[in-house]
């Protein structure tokens, strides 16, 4: 069974067709890098995958549950980091993560274990009792990851998890994502192409609301090779999405 399954997603805002028939399947163990220029429809697609946004057409399911017909069941299997890692700034990291965990139905015993694991894994000990408003961008992003992981979901949808992080933090985030990847289906949107080569097992590129490439990073590079010379992923990205936009 595909853990993430979307077919023919369409979303139009006033006159602009932001997403135009996007289909996507992600199975267990895969980390899919979701690429595209700004405004290509990445975030809108992710919002439909999570059930936050209702599509004009098409369906999406998480772990076999339709996100619109059976939203509660679908959301139980989903961890989601929205764009910008929003959180309640007036709460401390500990209170916020406990709140999300309880809202997800974790019992106090399980919640205690999960919180301890988050401190360890996401490296939050230094800021555990600080209000989120007072944290640096890097820590805020980590809190966002921790809330997405708190219930150990099968499906993770992360909208720009490394945006605004410094090189060390980016490295740590990639390590973390790679470490949790086995057994989960992960979709990551990003602008950082090196990231895709480092952690993603598949690349999906969208431009103007349509999927224009869906392959492993290696296959994508091979297909674009000239005289046996692989181009950089950036060159491929620019040639695919640049010509579309022109």
């Amino acid at each position: 069974m595909q853990l993430v399954q979307a077919s023919g997603l369409v979303k139009t805002f006033s006159r602009l067709r932001a997403v135009d028939g996007v289909s996507l399947e992600v199975s267990r163990g895969e980390v899919v890098g979701f690429l595209g220029p700004n405004g290509a429809g990445k975030s809108t697609t992710m919002k439909m995958l999570t059930g936050f946004l209702e599509p004009d057409a098409g369906t999406a399911s998480i772990a076999g549950h339709d996100v619109f017909a059976d939203p509660i069941a679908a959301r139980r299997h989903l961890g989601y980091l929205p764009e910008g890692a929003p959180a309640y700034g007036d709460m401390t990291v500990a209170d916020f993560l406990a709140f999300v965990g309880r809202m997800r139905g974790l019992s106090n015993a399980v919640l205690g274990e999960r919180l301890a694991e988050m401190v360890e894994r996401v490296n939050l000990a230094a800021v555990w009792n600080r209000p989120i408003d007072a944290l640096s961008k890097g820590f805020k992003r980590r809190v966002g990851i921790a809330q997405a992981l708190i219930h150990d979901p099968e499906v993770l949808i992360l909208d720009e998890p490394t945006d605004g992080l410094d090189p060390n933090q980016k490295h740590d985030m990639r390590e973390l994502i790679s470490a949790i990847a086995p057994g989960k289906a992960i979709v990551i949107s990003t602008h950082i192409l090196e990231e895709v080569e480092a952690i993603c097992s598949r690349v999906v590129i969208i431009a103007e609301g349509k999927v224009v490439a869906d392959a492993t990073p290696a296959a994508l590079l091979d297909a674009a090779a000239v005289d046996g010379q692989r181009p950089t992923l950036e060159t491929v990205f620019r040639s695919i999405t640049g010509s579309k936009a022109a």
Binding site: Y80, A87, D90
Partner: protein, 248 residues
């Protein structure tokens, strides 16, 4: 409609604490106490009347609440939208109505705290004379119900925008109209052209008229029903708005 009371309780707990996490709670409680006391003493003739009752104190509540309840309700949803937390909240395994009810109850409970703090007035009148305690109790209940109606309207309007200032102003305007609908100013303007039943309807919706009934000491059913049904209707619209405008 399936409902998780655990979710409602969790949202309630978070929101109630959030009031006290900022200076808003202290400012609100101070302003409410100062204004309700000041108006009762200076504009209401609390002492000059020479009667041990809380009439001058309660008479100002519709006017106080029409400003103060939008202040309590404005952040409930607008802030979630501005910060993007709404996206996180509405992708948790919870139902919109559970969150709507939890948030409303938190604001209402905060209002209850403010009202309880004004009970020192009651103690003063008890010391000075012998007020009709039945009337005082009925008035407090009426005041609490009316505040709930204003709050539900404010929360509902807050869900329509990401701007707290806009939420506040719109909620205050709607509240003002509901307060004014019982006054001669509005009714006279209607009488000229509207059929009698419309005038009666508008008058019967007036928060002031209905609140006055309750402060006379009788928990009249129509007044109680008006406030409760306003709460239910506003929260129902609130749920629809949250469901429909999740991403806006």
């Amino acid at each position: 409609m399936k409902t998780s009371f655990r979710t409602i309780a969790l949202v309630f707990g978070r929101e109630f604490r959030a009031y006290f996490a900022t200076p808003l709670a202290a400012v609100f409680l101070l302003v409410f106490l100062a204004l309700s006391a000041g108006l009762a003493f200076f504009a209401g003739g609390f002492f000059e009347r020479g009667q041990a009752d809380l009439g001058p104190f309660f008479a100002w509540h519709p006017w106080l609440f029409l400003i103060l309840m939008p202040a309590i309700g404005m952040r409930l949803w607008a802030d979630e939208r501005r910060s993007g937390v709404i996206e996180l909240l509405m992708t948790l395994p919870v139902r919109a109505h559970e969150v709507v009810i939890g948030k409303f109850l938190a604001g209402w409970a905060f209002t209850a705290v403010a009202l309880v703090l004004t009970m020192s007035f009651w103690l003063v009148t008890l010391y000075l004379g012998s007020p009709d305690n039945g009337i005082v109790v009925a008035s407090y209940i009426g005041s609490f119900l009316m505040a709930g109606a204003f709050l539900a309207i404010s929360a509902c309007i807050s869900a329509m925008t990401k701007n707290q200032v806009i939420a506040f102003i719109l909620a205050a305007i709607v509240s003002f109209l509901l307060v004014m609908s019982g006054t001669n100013l509005v009714l006279a303007a209607l009488r000229g052209w509207a059929p009698a039943f419309v005038v009666d309807l508008v008058q019967s919706l007036s928060f002031i008229t209905n609140f006055d009934r309750l402060t006379r000491g009788v928990l009249e059913a129509p007044a109680v029903i008006l406030f409760l049904s306003t709460i239910v209707l506003a929260l129902w619209i609130n749920v629809q708005v949250v469901d429909a405008k999740k991403a806006a």
